[in-house]
Symmetry: C2
Subunit: 420 residues, 2 copies
Amino acid sequence: MSDLMARRAALLGPNVPTFYDDPVQIVRGEGVWLYDAEGRRYLDCYNNVAHLGHCHPRVVAAIAQQSARLNTHSRYLHEGILDYGERLVAKFGHGLSQMLMTCTGSEANDVALRMAQAVTGKTGLIATDNTYHGNTTAVAQLSTRRPPIGGYPPHVRRVPAPDSLAPLGGSTEAQAAAFAANVARAIEELEAAGHGFAGLMLCPIFANEGMPGLDPGFLDATVAVVHRAGGLVLCDEVQPGFGRLGSHWWGHERLDFAPDVVTLGKPMGNGHPVAAVIARPDIMAAFRNAFGYFNTFAGNPVSCAAASAVLDVIEEEGLVENARDVGAYALDLLSALRHPLIADIRGLGFFFAIEFAREGVPDGAFCGRVVEAAKARGILLGRVGRAQHILKMRPPMPFSRANAERLAETLDQILREMPA
Amino acid sequence: MSDLMARRAALLGPNVPTFYDDPVQIVRGEGVWLYDAEGRRYLDCYNNVAHLGHCHPRVVAAIAQQSARLNTHSRYLHEGILDYGERLVAKFGHGLSQMLMTCTGSEANDVALRMAQAVTGKTGLIATDNTYHGNTTAVAQLSTRRPPIGGYPPHVRRVPAPDSLAPLGGSTEAQAAAFAANVARAIEELEAAGHGFAGLMLCPIFANEGMPGLDPGFLDATVAVVHRAGGLVLCDEVQPGFGRLGSHWWGHERLDFAPDVVTLGKPMGNGHPVAAVIARPDIMAAFRNAFGYFNTFAGNPVSCAAASAVLDVIEEEGLVENARDVGAYALDLLSALRHPLIADIRGLGFFFAIEFAREGVPDGAFCGRVVEAAKARGILLGRVGRAQHILKMRPPMPFSRANAERLAETLDQILREMPA
């Protein structure tokens, strides 16, 4: 392990993110399980990329077969992108009937920002603080915690995200109006500064902010504010999309609002690099006519075959229903956990959050110890939130009741042994 | 075909690029050949992504095997990225010993720009006009021919690219000094405007500008200007890299200069979405410490397996030597073409350019007719240059003498039948 870390440092340089104080060397994956070089197995409760489970044979076969037949760019005609895209956009309402494919969620969000700019002719963008929408220059400017070289760009404003521990406006009831008011103020500032307002980007479950508990309708006032100002609501579905919430295919359906643009990524190809932007035709036309966009790898037949196999398996194996049913079962089990530092336990389908706080103050250090302890017991978890104080669990979609029991029992053991 | 075009328009929106007035529907690829839905075959002389030839069985097998074993992110340790990266950086000199993986050349260039900004603490960037370095917001700002919403960003300056037909400074001899002088002027402007100077990005063969004929040493004065000003030379090797030039593995080796950062893309995975940035350790550290960069799909074991197989095949099949030998043979054949509008015929390994001009004025329309006529005769070509007046030919690396003869004979027939 130390040999691999030394090789990484020599080849990749400093500050390359790894998980865990003593990172694991994963060599094999199958379903919900990952295996390290010593043959130890880990229950993967973190990785939402391997949506169907690691190395799902249907996706592997689709990639292998199409790679052997044709893999080229979309400037030639091919049925693959059409068959896939038509099937994908059929899963959206609100006039979201057109698709632009990219290779990564970052690229998709980078396009979505320009769609808002193309439609409005303005540059101003708003995002929530402590969020993350990707790694390109333009997208990183939405969310970086370290100022970019040259300072934060003046056309980007950040608003506080909704928060379960410290709700905006001082209470859960006041939070929706407070969030909308902050967005309205940011729009006014952008307009006063001459940038104008193009769009608001958000994750419809605020996943990176720790998935605060929000009721349907939470964003209604905000969406109205954005639309009154002529801007677009850009909905980053990279984490909640493809049925993870169990109740719906897409996160915006749960909050019951109509986004103008939706972006998709991580789970879309079960690990194959494929992502997309879904938009209304008026928005797509504005973007396509304003920018001459082409992406060499995007929408190639192999990516479309992988992404089609993902839809096949979700539907044939009933994985959305599984996320709903087993997700509810798992949330029941997790909700029985007891510890003085647990401030909240919440879940939507196969997305769970356990928030740790000490007298109302987020306890990121404790959360970090739980993650390390879970790894030692063979369970992979992550953490999020403004203080990294929220356990983040996003298991693969075939996660079973037995898997859920193992997760809950392990967390119970860890919390019992871990003093506040 | 018209059915597919209608479906594309409905699904993808307007202004989505296709090749040809009547685009082909490609359904299968093998080696240097692409096959359409009617079983017609085309000699692919355009696509540098399928570097080893379409659907090379070694890459297909590598992708299939690794996809079945593990495909996850680089926050866990894995030997794949280390084995590949160590082998790749060993192919570079000039202290270029570290690697950052991305999924696309656009992402790689987007990172390279920020590397220059991290090292210098300045934001100013310079690129050649009429070039293309990718599709993210930041990278598209280098090269767009249509102004971005909100106007061209003031921290980006464009300088005229070297040109075979109308050399900078009025003559081939004066061109190198003139190019350097233009870069020096742009640096002064950036400094005067308060942005400071971070870096110059260029393709070392100026591929999108039509690969003007340039001698080794052409960039020496420019590199000196950039370094004297404290900036970095960012070398976009997405097109010339991986041995295409026959004489060298990398384009900068042919012009014999030392870039500070190199970006790689298209051919790297023979179609699998994988790309990279190669940099000196001091530069990588400055970037890694200034930005918290992570890319979900980049450097996953499948991408590394595909990219490793590409290196295997290039080496085992002697493809660089093939590009050198067959490239020289093909250039001889092409050089025998005669037509009143041919202004120049040039080539480097498996990268050929035929420039069309009418009394010194670029003739893009004629070049377009040649591309269409070649398609009708079963050969796929592209075009580039400030007036799209330069035939661009980048065949797969196993291109044979017989393939070269077919290309030259077909072009000869076309040109004989096409009045000036």
